[in-house]
């Protein structure tokens, strides 16, 4: 059976897992030995792509070309309030894409956000391949439960670009619950509280007889650890501005350092009550004076800075429970997932809100990837004991007369599902209707896409009947069809066409990605051979004087020396031209020459 990996594509950290032969899922650690890989991508001046820890390490020196938190931008429109807000603090360059999407410009090349994510996916795929010792082409990828249709589709595209077949997109909290309940014969009602780097999700599930049934899901796709980091950054910048009359935000490198320091301080404050933040040489004034930043941040201050963020999480929790008619007492457990769930203020707030001490039964950083791996295995193994049943977190519908939103599929409907409603014209002789597809979440409406159904029969108003069908796949992706019930003329869209990538674009990106991988493999091979060649060249030079002495006295000496010097110059030429073939071809003769020299000088 071909392996299916589970990938938690996080805002800050990503994680990959696989189902082992013994029926337990396992996280695969990366080359540097850690179980999670930073979701960062960088392009170096030689055009090389750095992923994960490597990208993170060089972020300070290469801030313009290092992308972090791409998940905050994926599947969003350039003009979204959230995007505009995020653009204020990110040090890399962005621009408006051809579909009003966000593009990221690195070293004069413009990348779509799914392309960036695909690089991370690719990195994780490599981690899995190294571990398994075989190619991996199939994956289950997780997204926040509250991700909308565009964001899901864009994530799927990222998988495609990375050359992965994404068997299924599943929701992060659901995945965590699967890890919690898998192979444990429990019958429980649990809430999953997932606060990660960029997103917040709350899901309530019941687990019974191996069925994981999601009752309700809610969240905020722009609320997470990054926001806390930003609050700390703002505070640092403000204090620094007061003290030194300098706005650090104008300096990309300073921004990057501030961000790192802010995150570290936040993490430390989960265990200690006060930290000192030290950023020497943070800024040099035009007069050449160097400025240093030092600040003391206490846990209380941090709690104060992020109080409203915590409040927002809790508000969503209470509201969700109310709407779903669930009381805290109904819950057997509250699972804490995501790095931010370690923050004491969050923990206290959850305890207060749910009236139970939250549990850390599952690993906050790994549970999601493990769940994805389990789901991947469930899909291909023919297992019949365990089943995930998820719901849609939003209301879907269209706009009708009076600008009203007409719900076709309500929130918390079990998916996959489809629903139909029949609509009609409102004016005499109306020959066209425009279907505006909307998504409603926490009382705001968002236009997902629109299309027109044309060529309707000219008739008095109310006579023509138009059937609108919404369909939501098991991945949570929405398609809409409109059909004229008289002529059977049909129009349909998979809603994302309005802001996602076109098929051609995706094909091009797949090509570019494979091209890059092929070239980088060749480069790597060249580098290895190059190192080897240099070693032999050094040895050659070392042995040469002695060898000349010996060879001079022999009859074939001149000939041999002549040949040796041709080989060496051929090799040097190959290195200069970076010609892999030639290098390979001339390395073997050089090796033989060196061997010969060694023998000669030893004999002597």
């Amino acid at each position: 059976m071909e392996p299916v990996i589970g990938i938690d594509l996080g805002t800050t950290n990503s994680c990959v897992a696989i189902m082992k032969g013994d029926g337990y899922p396992k996280v695969i650690h990366n080359k540097s030995g850690s179980n999670t890989t930073p979701s960062m991508v960088a392009v170096t001046d030689s055009g090389k792509r750095l992923i994960g820890q490597l990208a993170k390490r060089q972020a300070v020196v290469n801030p313009q070309n290092t992308v972090y938190a791409a998940k905050r931008l994926i599947g969003r429109r350039y003009d979204d309030r959230e995007v505009q807000k995020a653009l204020k603090t990110i040090p890399y360059k962005t621009e408006r894409g051809p579909h009003d999407d966000v593009r990221i410009s690195l070293r004069n090349h413009s990348y779509a956000v799914p392309e960036i994510s695909s690089m991370i996916l690719n990195g994780l795929r490599m981690v899995a391949q190294d571990y398994l010792g075989r190619p991996v082409t199939k994956a289950v990828v997780t997204v926040p439960a509250y991700f909308n249709d565009n964001q899901r589709q864009a994530t799927k595209d990222a998988g495609k670009i990375a050359g992965l077949e994404v068997l299924r997109i599943i929701n992060e909290p659901t995945a965590a619950a699967l890890t919690y309940g898998f192979s444990r014969n429990v019958s429980q009602k649990v809430a999953v509280f997932d606060l990660g780097g960029g997103t917040f999700d709350i899901s309530i599930l019941e687990i019974d007889q191996g069925v994981f049934n999601v009752i309700t899901s809610a969240g905020d796709t722009f609320l997470g650890g990054e926001d806390f980091d930003e609050r700390i950054m703002e505070w640092l910048v403000l204090n620094f501005a007061k003290e030194c009359k300098v706005d650090l935000r104008t300096d990309r490198m300073a921004l990057q350092r501030l961000k790192e320091a802010a995150e570290n301080a936040k993490i430390e404050l989960s265990t200690v009550s006060e930290v000192q933040i030290n950023l020497p040489f943070i800024y040099s004034t035009p007069e050449g004076e160097t400025l240093h930043l030092t600040a003391n941040l206490s846990r209380d201050k941090l709690n104060e800075l992020g109080a409203d963020l915590v409040e927002r999480c809790m508000h969503i929790c209470t509201e969700t429970m109310q709407n779903a008619g669930i009381k805290p007492a109904d819950l057997d457990d509250v699972l804490m997932v995501g790095g931010m769930s370690r923050m004491p203020a969050i923990r206290d707030a959850v305890t207060k809100c749910f009236g139970i001490t939250p549990s850390y039964t599952v690993h906050p950083d790994e549970a999601v990837a493990l769940g994805a791996a389990i789901q991947g295995w469930l899909l291909v193994s023919g297992n019949t004991d365990t089943l995930l049943l998820d719901v849609t977190p939003h209301d879907f519908g269209i706009l009708v007369a009076g600008g009203d939103f007409n719900t076709i599929i309500p929130k918390d409907t079990a998916i996959p599902t489809s629903a139909r409603k029949v609509f009609t014209t409102m004016r005499d002789n109306q020959t066209q209707v425009r279907i505006m597809i909307m998504q409603e979440s926490s009382n705001t409406h968002e236009l997902l896409g629109e299309f027109a159904l044309t060529g309707l029969r000219e008739a008095p108003k109310g006579a023509v009947r138009i059937e609108v069908t919404f369909q939501i796949s098991a991945d949570g992706i929405v398609s809409v069809y409109a059909r004229d019930l008289e002529t059977n003329r049909c129009q349909s869209v998979t809603v994302t066409a309005s802001s996602g990538l076109t098929n051609e674009e995706i094909q091009r990106m797949i090509q570019e990605n494979t091209d890059y991988l092929v070239t980088s493999e060749a480069t790597q091979k060249f580098e290895t051979l190059h190192v080897e060649a240099e070693r032999y060249l050094r040895q050659f030079k070392l042995l040469l004087p002695k060898a000349i002495m010996t060879l001079r006295s022999s009859s074939y000496g001149d000939d041999a020396l002549q040949k040796a010097s041709t080989v060496v110059s051929r090799l040097q030429e190959a290195i200069k031209r970076r010609d892999l073939n030639e290098l390979e071809n001339s390395l073997a003769p050089l090796k033989r020459t060196v061997e010969l020299f060694e023998k000669l000088t030893k004999d002597q």
Binding site: L167, V272, D385, L389, G402, A414, T417, T424, M426, Q432
Partner: protein, 456 residues
């Protein structure tokens, strides 16, 4: 807002990017209705809104440069685009016909009996009482809805057929599961359920038919052997469901629970014993108390804090990797408890055993070495760390420790050797200024050692 305006027919400007505009739903709707043919007056009618509101929205759209008001003397053909939609929720859904003649295909994942069952359920159609779709009778209780739904979902959820050859049943199964979902969604409110149940009770014809169908349903579960290509049939699903709750698996579950319980207990002991440790430790203990399952690497880091003068060990703990499911995990915990309780000799024996049994896990050698170093058994400590390095030569922490042990062994060249390798490794691993910085902090201490030695 003039009378004049009420009569004009605004139309969208070419090339407007609707998404870029900040529109309220009302403005968005009005915008979608403007085609150069509808006047503002008519629009007010369409929207069933006061004219002022519409005018206000129009004004706003004008301000946003989304629409224009055409000159009244422009030729009318100019604004000929087809009249736009007016929509209104209609009365009822159109029923979908489901009475296709069954045609079975060769080589698909469902056997004939299963195919018939799918067809039967589909033939019920969505207009049918949802109780029937879920296979419920008129005396069903509300709790049965969920039970029955789960049972059906386990059989018909698309996950069950992922990537299987299904032929024409591909679509049928998709429709069927959507139907089941709809039935469940409908019945998941107690009052709605009661309504449908009563209706079913009032219609005995449907009930009797249901009984007949039910017996058919059971037939499926114990049906004759499926054709060879068909992997697990519902019949198999049932048997494995039974196995799921067999005594053996229960026993296994108990064992697992016991191990977990034991692990927790040991952790508690661990916490108690460590109660008096320094502040850095307190942090880790906090985590333990809160029920975190500490990773072995974190434990190592904690042990590291027991060894003086190593401020950066904690930050490097991520360099370690040990699997919690590894058999050594329990032993390791045990040994750690020994360390904490001051039974250092026993702990040492424990580490030695671990190192021997899992000789490939360099961390055990490393820990052994740390403990030996603490007990001033420097030569033995050197041996142990050598073993660790033989397995993991690229471990920063090991190299640093080796360097320190070398100092203690008064082996100056060893000290430098490891020290240089550590620096080189740190540089290679990263341009991470902070790690190198911390190394540099560490170095003066080493030099201090050296000068002390010279003083001797």
């Amino acid at each position: 807002m003039t009378d004049n305006k009420a009569h004009c027919k605004p139309r969208p400007l070419a090339g407007v990017n609707v998404y870029a505009l900040k529109l309220t739903p009302l403005e968005g709707f009005i915008f979608s209705q403007l085609d150069g043919q509808v006047s503002v007056e008519q629009l007010a009618d369409i929207c069933q809104l006061p004219e002022e509101n519409v005018l206000e929205a129009i004004d706003n759209l004008l301000k946003l440069k989304a629409i224009e008001l055409p000159d009244s003397d422009m030729p009318t053909e100019y604004s000929r685009p087809a009249p736009t939609a007016k929509t209104e929720p209609a009365v009822a859904m159109a029923p979908r016909s489901m009475n296709e003649q069954p045609q079975y295909e060769e080589g698909i994942y469902l056997n004939a009996e299963q195919q018939r069952e799918v067809d039967r359920l589909l033939a019920l159609g969505e207009e049918e009482n949802p109780l029937l779709i879920l296979g419920l009778t008129a005396d069903a209780a509300f709790a049965d809805v969920k039970k029955s739904y789960f049972k059906l979902a386990k059989v018909y959820h698309p996950d069950r057929f992922y990537g299987r050859e299904l032929g024409s049943y591909q679509e049928k199964l998709a429709t069927l599961f959507e139907m089941i979902n709809q039935a469940f969604n409908t019945l998941s409110k107690p009052r709605v359920f009661e309504l449908w149940r009563k209706r079913l009770a009032e219609n005995p014809a449907a009930s009797s038919q249901l009984k007949k169908e039910n017996s058919k349903n059971q037939l499926i579960a114990v049906d004759d052997e499926p054709p060879p290509q068909m992997v697990p049939s519902p019949a198999k699903a049932h048997s494995s469901a039974r196995r799921y709750s067999s005594p053996i698996s229960q026993e296994l579950e108990e064992v697992r629970q016991n191990i977990l319980k034991e692990r927790r207990q040991r952790q508690n002991i661990y916490v108690d014993r460590l109660g008096k440790a320094d502040e850095a430790m307190q942090a880790a203990i906090l985590k333990l108390r809160d029920g975190f399952l500490l990773e072995p690497c974190e434990k190592i880091a904690m042990i590291c804090t027991l060894v003086p003068d190593n401020p950066f060990y904690q930050s490097l703990r991520a360099d370690f990797f040990l699997d919690e499911n590894h058999p050594s995990y329990m032993d390791l915990l045990q040994v750690e408890v020994l360390v904490d309780s001051g039974y250092l000799d026993k702990a040492l024996a424990g580490y030695a055993k671990l190192s021997k049994e899992y000789y490939k896990i360099s961390a055990f050698h490393f820990m052994e070495s740390l403990l030996l170093y603490r007990q001033n058994e420097v030569v033995k400590a050197m041996n142990a760390i050598d073993k660790a390095l033989a397995v993991s030569p690229e471990q920063l922490l090991f190299l640093l420790h080796a360097s320190r042990v070398s100092v203690a062994c008064k082996n100056n060249s060893g000290k430098d050797y490891f020290w240089v390798r550590a620096i080189a490794l740190a540089k290679k691993l990263s341009c991470d200024i902070s790690v190198i910085g911390q190394l540099l902090v560490y170095k003066p201490a080493e030099q201090q050692n050296k000068s002390e030695k010279q003083a001797e």
